[in-house]
Point group: C2
Chain length 213, copies 2
DNA sequence: TGTACATCAGTGAACGCGCGTTCACTGATGTAC
DNA sequence: TGTACATCAGTGAACGCGCGTTCACTGATGTAC
């Protein structure tokens, strides 16, 4: 407690005071997130991100190999937050309830609406990042949340093919709704749709009905 | 028929012979389409497109105001093709059949798979193009194809709110499936899904079941 | 049919710009003794 | 506790590059008489 200013820079305190502010990596990611949000994916530059973080344009290269790695960092962080939000959605309702399933979808849609630029980036980053096994794993982690909610609702094991199939249907649905919403906010579709009713309706349709051929 | 080479450049014949080849606009759009397909949206430049069309880097400005207008041209052309494909899908099955609805979706998915870069561009072009009333109209045109197929299937007028709602559900679905497919080809989802059965199943679920709350 | 002229659709050289990245450097931090 | 030193995390200047766009131009085309 005697060290107020100099060392390891407590989050947010006197960000310019410390020579090594120790927070640069996180601050750069936050800056890029902002830039992506306001200028769209690809609308960011290392230089601008450094400027926003208050460091020289060379500083980012102490934390990231290159431009691509910064983007991957942003995506990785965003996917963590997305998964956490989905899990929180499910946890707010009884295990196995239809509401829990709908809530997972609602968290997903809320994320897309709240950070459309980052959301687009997350799903558009396939160009040249086919490898990146950590990102792939995080994607599976998100899908896993859907699968578990669906499995609990149908009272089947998560590995059951029917669970996988219906979970994927739900995910397609929610994913498409998210994209349509952020792409043409309020346009094209004349019907104003309340998310919760909508999501409950579609969850019911996909989980309760006999959708087998 | 006496004019084989010089005038108005018949489509594709001796593209270098004519000084005014008369086809530049279309050729530039084709070049950009290719670039977007191989380098992703934003991965194109006016200079490179001109190079591919075999003209100087200033030539495109005789046909387009600026970079943005070229992109809009590509999107506009792509939306025309998408609508035509959707209409052809519907027309291949009896009016009012579930198959006609599924075929519209299948055409949509096929477009996304066939030209993932352009598909992404079409739906990601909202940054700074909120205006562009012609593109908006074309978007509504595509949605109209879905609406008409659904309306015929339910034997209701296209303006019916339930038709609009179910058409939007279907569209979300197909849109999400398309994006998921092109974003993580074959990954994440373990289930290999045959599009036709899948689309028929989901069309049935959305159109035939009581999805009202 | 022939000629004069306006218009159209290109050229190619040039501009200023911001970017990604590298480089030698330097001041602050953490550690061994 | 004090000192020497390796390491870490920044600086700032510089590089080469490709881009978007403009400009004065020129050759080909279409049209009026």
């Amino acid at each position: 407690m005697p060290d107020e200013t100099p060392p390891l820079a407590p989050p947010g305190v006197t960000p310019k005071a410390a020579y090594h502010h120790g927070d640069l990596r996180a601050q750069l990611i936050a800056a890029v997130r902002e830039l992506v949000e306001t200028h769209g994916p690809d609308g960011f530059s290392v230089a601008e991100a450094a400027r926003r973080a208050g460091v020289s344009s060379a500083a980012p290269y102490k934390h990231f190999k290159d431009r691509q790695e910064i983007l991957r960092g942003v995506v990785s962080e965003a996917m963590d937050r997305l998964r956490v939000a989905m899990e929180a959605g499910a946890a707010a309702h009884p295990v196995g309830s239809l509401e829990a399933v709908a809530a997972v979808g609602q968290a997903y849609v809320a994320f897309a609406k709240g950070e459309p630029g980052v959301f687009r980036l997350v799903f558009g980053l396939t160009e040249g990042h086919e490898d990146a096994p950590d990102l792939l794993a995080k994607g599976e982690g998100c899908f896993g949340v859907v699968v578990r909610a669906v499995a609990a609702c149908l009272d089947l094991p998560p590995g059951d093919p029917d669970v996988q199939r219906r979970a994927y249907m739900l995910w397609s649905f929610v994913h498409g709704h998210s994209f349509l919403h952020i792409d043409m906010k309020t346009k094209v579709t004349t019907a104003r749709i309340d998310d919760w009713d909508y999501l409950m309706g579609i969850s019911r349709a996909i989980l309760m009905d006999a959708t087998r051929a």
